[in-house]
């Protein structure tokens, strides 16, 4: 017999290999779309850290994506080493995010939404004003992510690998972060700051932390954006995209790693789907799609399996819960009912030992 851990490792290995084989197996357009999904999945993931997990409504995530993209474009066109470009494209948005967070985290609720809303709103004219670095309204192009000759890969394959490796690493690290100690801390900051504080969790510091992590991740997304789209301009960081990112996060499933991936897919595919149906009514179609998805799955796409499972359970022919009941002679309430039920006098004398 194989041990459980061994089986898990094997499954993980197979999954990783399968994912790494993807770029080789698909056509160019599919690869490009997958890469784009990766870009925005990372952006949504960052938003999830600050909003989904920590409860701070952020309408500014696209700003950090934009800054990351600009830094990448600037570095790449100035011949920086690609490693330096990557690090800079993460750190610079991160530092800006930290500074903004130091101010924003003082505010609660809607006020923080308002302040983050200002980021893309101010970001666009700012990007134009800093035209020496940003290329002004005409933007910056850079094809730094073309496949190197030694790889023998097509550009689209190479770019998808970049997304898979960099994005995959970010997803893994983030998943780890939001699982244990920090996940719990973020969650309590989201639900009750006073309680968080009395657990030794400074709401301010954790909000700043979450916001900064979100902007770091936004920077990664910006780097990948440049690797995949190879062009950025002030339009990249417009408010509308930030709002769509937020919608994508909720549609994918808020406070969920898989949800972030689905959110990225929604961000990229919804407009394509709308274009496919009728390019003249894309707005109408996207609005309808958004409402439809949330109507069916208020918990986001990620809740689909759960909803299906619940439906199946409900549709099971009489039996199920009822049968369980009659056999135990007590209402089915899991362990508690079973353990608590038999008391001599018919009056509970306390909780089960």
């Amino acid at each position: 017999m194989f041990s459980r851990a061994w089986v898990r490792r094997a499954i993980t290995a197979i999954a990783v290999i399968a994912v790494l084989a993807v770029p080789l197996g698909f056509d160019e357009y599919t690869n490009q779309n997958l890469a784009r999904i990766g870009v925005f999945a990372v952006a949504v993931l960052g938003l999830n850290v600050v909003m989904g997990y920590t409860g701070q409504v952020s309408l500014g995530q696209i700003f950090f994506v934009g800054v990351g993209a600009y830094v990448t474009a600037y570095g790449a066109t100035h011949g920086w080493n690609i490693g330096v470009v990557l690090v800079a494209s993460i750190l610079i948005p991160g530092v800006i995010g930290l500074l903004v967070a130091l101010a924003a985290a003082r505010l609660g609720g809607l006020a923080i939404a308002m302040l983050t809303l200002a980021l893309p709103i101010v970001g666009v004219p700012l990007a134009k004003r800093l035209s020496d670095y940003t290329g002004g309204s005409q933007g910056l192009s850079s094809a730094f992510s073309s496949a190197p000759e030694w790889s023998g890969l097509y550009n689209d394959q190479w770019q998808l690998y970049v997304v898979l490796v960099v994005g995959g690493a970010v997803f893994l690290l983030t998943r780890n972060l939001v699982r244990g100690k920090y996940g719990r801390a973020f969650a309590i900051v989201k639900s009750n700051e006073a309680v968080a504080a009395s657990m030794g969790i400074s709401p301010y510091r954790y909000k700043v932390l979450a916001f900064t992590v979100a902007s770091l991740i936004g920077g990664v997304s910006g780097f990948l954006y440049m690797a995949v789209v190879q062009f950025t301009s002030p339009e990249t960081l417009s408010l509308g995209h930030s709002v769509t990112l937020l919608a994508s996060m909720v549609i994918g499933g808020s406070a969920s790693i898989v949800g972030s991936l689905l959110g990225g897919a929604y961000y990229v595919l919804a407009p394509q789907l709308a274009n496919h149906v009728d390019p003249n009514t894309t707005e109408l179609l996207q609005g309808a799609l958004l409402l439809l998805v949330l109507f069916l799955l208020p918990g986001g796409l990620v809740s689909l399996p759960r909803v299906i499972a619940r439906k199946l359970r409900r549709n099971r022919p009489t039996g199920g819960a009822d049968r369980q009941q009659s056999s135990s002679g007590a209402p089915a309430r899991g362990r508690k009912a079973v353990e608590e039920a038999p008391t001599m006098s018919g009056i509970p004398t306390g909780r089960p030992e």
Binding site: M114, I121, A194, E283, L290, P298
Partner: protein
């Protein structure tokens, strides 16, 4: 000096655009606890209805009145058919639903009436009068007056009437409200209906200046949100004052603060709001709600 006064007057008239929308947002916020991103879109839709009616030869006033009525019904329907499902769930989801509504309504407007700019007749003439040496159009004065009336009406509604109290109670705690016999569903519908009706007025006031397009309110919405938060979400007077303040300060900063200029003036309302909120988290006119532990 003449220019200064003119800039202040211009700022007030800009602020008025933000103010009408902000009032509608406050209304929904007080009645449902939500920030409604679709408010701008709904106002645009109402403006199209008004426009359509005038195109068919109705007088403007009549068209606006009919549109206000129609908007009330539509707003109530939107609450009943769309928002109802999300009202007791995750507030983030509900807000995203309003974003979806905004997209949908904008899309519907574009589909029905194209994305071209349509001329919209103004209730008030564009002729100007001189006030303290500044040229002020009758339109600005009229808009100003209408907003003041709506503002006072809402203030009275919320603070003085049983209906207003019930609207607020439902937003704060629908479950307890139901236990006290408040018809929760109908009150929510009424809240949305009123906000939509107010949106129709907003649309009619704003459309002559911005010309009617599906995205007419997009920018105004951002400013309106800032005004809502700066003014204190619960106070109609507060948000209107905040909207005017934003309009004026923005103009003055653009002209007199060289570093800011016309390109970055949009940052001013946000900086202003931030500074105010650090000092007064409840906003200018809002009342602090303590969350006790």
């Amino acid at each position: 000096m003449g220019q200064f006064i003119q800039l202040v007057v211009d700022g007030l008239s800009n602020g008025s655009i933000y103010a009408v929308l902000a009032l509608a947002i406050v209304l929904v916020n007080q009645a449902t606890g939500l920030i409604n991103f679709a408010q701008g879109g709904m106002a645009v839709f109402s403006a199209y209805i008004t426009w359509l009616l005038t195109e068919h030869g109705l007088s403007l006033i009549l068209a606006i009145l009919l549109s206000v009525l129609a908007s009330f019904v539509l707003g109530a329907l939107v609450e009943r058919l769309v928002m109802r499902r999300f009202e007791r769930g995750d507030p983030d989801t509900a807000v995203v639903v309003t974003i979806g509504l905004l997209t949908l309504i904008t899309g519907i407007c574009g589909w029905l009436w194209t994305y071209n700019n349509q001329q919209f007749r103004s209730l008030f003439s564009l002729t100007t009068v001189s006030i303290f040496g500044a040229a002020v159009s009758i339109r600005s004065i009229g808009t100003f007056a209408v907003i003041a009336v709506i503002m006072l009406f809402l203030q009275a509604l919320f603070l003085g009437t049983k209906f207003g109290l019930a609207l607020r109670a439902v937003a704060i705690n629908p479950k307890s409200a139901a236990l006290s016999g408040l018809p929760v569903g109908r009150l929510l519908m009424a809240g949305w209906g009123l906000a939509a009706a107010l949106g129709a007025v907003a649309g009619a006031l704003v459309a002559p200046q911005l010309t009617l397009t599906p995205g007419m309110m997009d920018t105004a919405l951002v400013y309106a949100l800032a005004a809502v938060i700066l003014g204190g979400q619960s106070s109609p007077v507060g948000v209107v004052v905040a909207a005017w303040l934003i309009g004026v300060v923005e103009n003055l900063a653009a002209v007199y603060v060289h570093f800011i200029g016309y390109d970055l003036k949009v940052a001013v309302p946000f900086i202003l709001t931030f500074v105010v909120l650090v000092v007064r988290p409840q906003g200018l006119f809002g009342r602090k709600v303590v969350a006790r532990v």
